[in-house]
């Protein structure tokens, strides 16, 4: 059963993004919200943590923090809150790595 792994911590402050990735299985999705959106910044050390993972990032949280599209690494989908809801529906359950 697929899990939507939700992370809200900066990868530079806590290990939650890395741990969530460790817990991801085939069919799972990683959703980065709040301070976890810093994970997707180009040139940041933490970007490699989500290499090859199905990762989605919350657009409003990106914009709030001044992370423009061109400053993002490739291969990460951006969603709004409606997209967040769709991801919850598309997965069998959610796990928030608080």
């Amino acid at each position: 059963m697929s899990i939507l792994h939700i992370v809200n911590k900066s990868p530079y402050e806590r290990n939650s993004v890395a741990l969530a990735v460790d817990y991801m299985r085939d069919g799972d999705t990683l959703l980065l919200i709040e301070d976890a959106v810093y994970t997707v910044m180009q040139g940041g050390k933490a970007a490699s943590i989500i290499d090859g993972q199905k990762a989605v990032v919350l657009g409003p949280d990106l914009a709030a923090r001044g992370i423009a599209k061109e400053k993002m690494i490739d291969g990460v989908e951006v969603v709004d809150y409606a997209g967040f809801v769709d991801l919850v529906e598309a997965s069998d359950k959610t796990q928030s790595w608080l």
Binding site: M1, I3, N15, L19, D22, Y23, M24, R25, K93, T94, Q95, S96, W97, L98
Partner: protein
């Protein structure tokens, strides 16, 4: 009422914040609903189960004895993540010995704690219906 597989994921140390204690309160109340309950201790959550906690010097309630009562609440599946334990220089001997009594086997005492790798716990998570996070 339908029975669901509930997983309570504990990732916080006790006392520094209230999450561990209030999470335990949810598990105790939830026991009355007769769901298929499991608990997982990951990251600093493993510190919750350390033996020998004494809070007399900080005037906070020592809730660690409550874990040993979980068996009476029919919470008998307590997963401890091996990697988190090892990272912290701990072994199972450092944790409380949690047991439950199996009604079907003449009340034989059985271990509640299941030491599992991260990959094994991920598989357990996959089989759950609802994940509770604190």
């Amino acid at each position: 009422m339908t029975t669901k597989k509930f997983m309570y994921v504990n990732r916080r140390a006790p006392y520094g914040t209230i999450y561990a204690w209030e999470a335990l309160e949810v598990v105790l109340i939830g026991a009355a609903f007769e769901q298929d309950v499991s608990m997982a201790f990951v990251d600093d959550g493993v510190f919750q189960l350390l033996k020998g906690q004494d809070t007399s010097g900080i005037d906070m309630k020592n809730f660690s004895p409550t874990y040993s009562a979980l068996g009476d609440y029919e919470v008998t599946k307590i997963y401890v993540e091996k990697e988190s334990l090892e990272e912290r220089g701990l072994t199972l001997d450092d944790l409380q010995h949690l047991v439950w009594e199996d009604e079907d086997e003449d009340w034989a005492e059985k271990d509640s704690i299941r030491l599992v790798s991260r990959a094994e716990l991920a598989e357990v998570f996959a089989g759950q219906d609802v994940m509770f996070n604190f």
